[in-house]
């Protein structure tokens, strides 16, 4: 009866706690008076529906990607797919998320790129300062003045 699905599901599932949280938060918006609860089977149904949605969207996006003779499914394919499967309302929030993600990544990349640049510069500078006194990096212990020039 209350089988906890110990069966090894061939299909990966979405984490139930997260699905549950999403559903319950929405329900608390829907009704201000009193708590709405969710039957366990209903949660499974949500989970399963979401999983199939991923498949559906993914397959559609994949088709779009292939049509453009590409191998890698990209963000644009996904957005186009959403239109095709008639979820246009999702487009704006998704684009916003995507922009956010890209901005953050750009920041990280810029930071990482800068670091790389600076490391390169330092490396280039080291060998050219061979003529006495400039070997800060290597002779740090010698700062008290016993360095050999």
């Amino acid at each position: 009866m209350e089988s906890e699905k110990k069966v090894v599901s061939e299909a990966e599932e979405l984490p139930r706690t997260i699905v549950r949280r999403v559903v319950k938060e929405k329900l608390s918006n829907c009704s201000e008076d009193g708590d709405l609860s969710v039957h366990k089977d209903a949660l499974l149904a949500f989970s399963e529906s979401a999983r199939i949605f991923i498949h559906y969207l993914s397959a559609t996006a994949n088709d779009i990607c292939r049509e453009s003779k590409r191998q890698t499914m990209n963000a644009d394919d996904v957005l186009k797919a959403l239109e095709e499967i008639e979820f246009p309302d999702f487009l704006n929030p998704l684009k916003a998320s995507l922009d956010e993600f890209r901005r953050k990544n750009a920041g990280k990349k810029a930071g990482a790129a800068k670091e790389k640049e600076e490391k390169k510069k330092r490396k280039l500078e080291e060998p050219s300062h061979d003529s006495g006194g400039g070997e800060r990096v290597e002779n740090e212990e010698d700062q008290d003045g016993t360095g050999d020039a």
């Binding site: 929405k26 089977d41 209903a42 949605f53 397959a59 191998q71 499914m73 394919d77």
Partner: protein, 234 residues
């Protein structure tokens, strides 16, 4: 001499409770200790403003709470799907969440109709059956549910010969585009006419809304669906 002179002189500590940090020392007499304190204070400030930023951004991260790795695994269960850009799972996570929200609202409406405060599986089934764009989920809905909903509609629409109304694939399918009908994953195959149902005009919905009475969770009579995982043994 009056002691209530607020002593700005660093030589005498004022009797009132000291502020958490000592007053900023005059520049000339700055000791390494003061430098350190100032530094720490700055660092603390930076730390907290960063934390605040993080907290504000948590809302955004909350939206990505569906684990990307899991989403990727689900996507890759479809053999046709090969390479996925890094951005795609992000979109999927968000889309999934939005989808669950949609499904939740519509299911809730059904529970409301039936004056229940617990969402049940049949509420979701009803939401799927009623919403065109959820057609792709029809296979996980037990047949009984479809028939029940259809019965409500069939009376208005005029039932077809088989008693099961028809289904029209969403419009605007591009050439060789996405899947149609039931659970055709990744293959632009022909419409499979097996689980089909009608999409009524909006007026019909009103009467269904009112007349559709008893619809409590009395299914799960083993009417199994394509998705074995879902069949809740209740």
């Amino acid at each position: 001499m009056e002691n209530n002179q607020a002593a700005a002189q660093s030589s005498s500590y004022p009797p009132q409770p000291t502020p958490p940090l000592p007053p900023p020392p005059p520049p000339s007499s700055s000791t390494p200790f003061h430098h350190l304190l100032q530094q720490q204070q700055q660092q603390l400030q930076m730390f907290w403003s960063y934390q605040r930023q993080e907290i504000e951004q948590v809302n955004d991260f909350k939206n990505h709470q569906l684990p990307l790795a899991r989403i990727k695994k689900i996507m890759k269960a479809d053999e046709d799907v090969r390479m996925i850009s890094a951005e795609a799972p992000i979109l999927f996570a968000k889309a999934c969440e939005l989808f669950i929200l949609e499904l939740t609202i519509r299911s809730w409406l059904h529970a409301e109709e039936n004056k229940r405060r617990t969402l049940q599986k049949n509420d979701i089934a009803a939401a799927i059956t009623r919403t065109d764009i959820f057609d792709f989920l029809v296979d996980i809905v037990p047949r009984d549910e479809i028939k029940e909903e259809a019965a409500g509609l069939g009376g208005i629409m005029g039932a077809t010969a088989s008693g099961v109304p028809y289904y029209y694939p969403p419009m605007g399918q591009p050439a060789g585009g996405g899947p149609h009908g039931g659970m055709m994953i990744g293959r632009p195959a022909a419409v499979d006419p097996t689980g089909v149902y009608v999409q009524p005009p909006s007026n019909a919905w009103q009467s269904v809304w009112q007349s559709h009475a008893a619809d409590d969770g009395s299914y799960g009579s083993g009417a199994s669906s394509g998705q074995g995982n879902l069949d809740g043994q209740s």
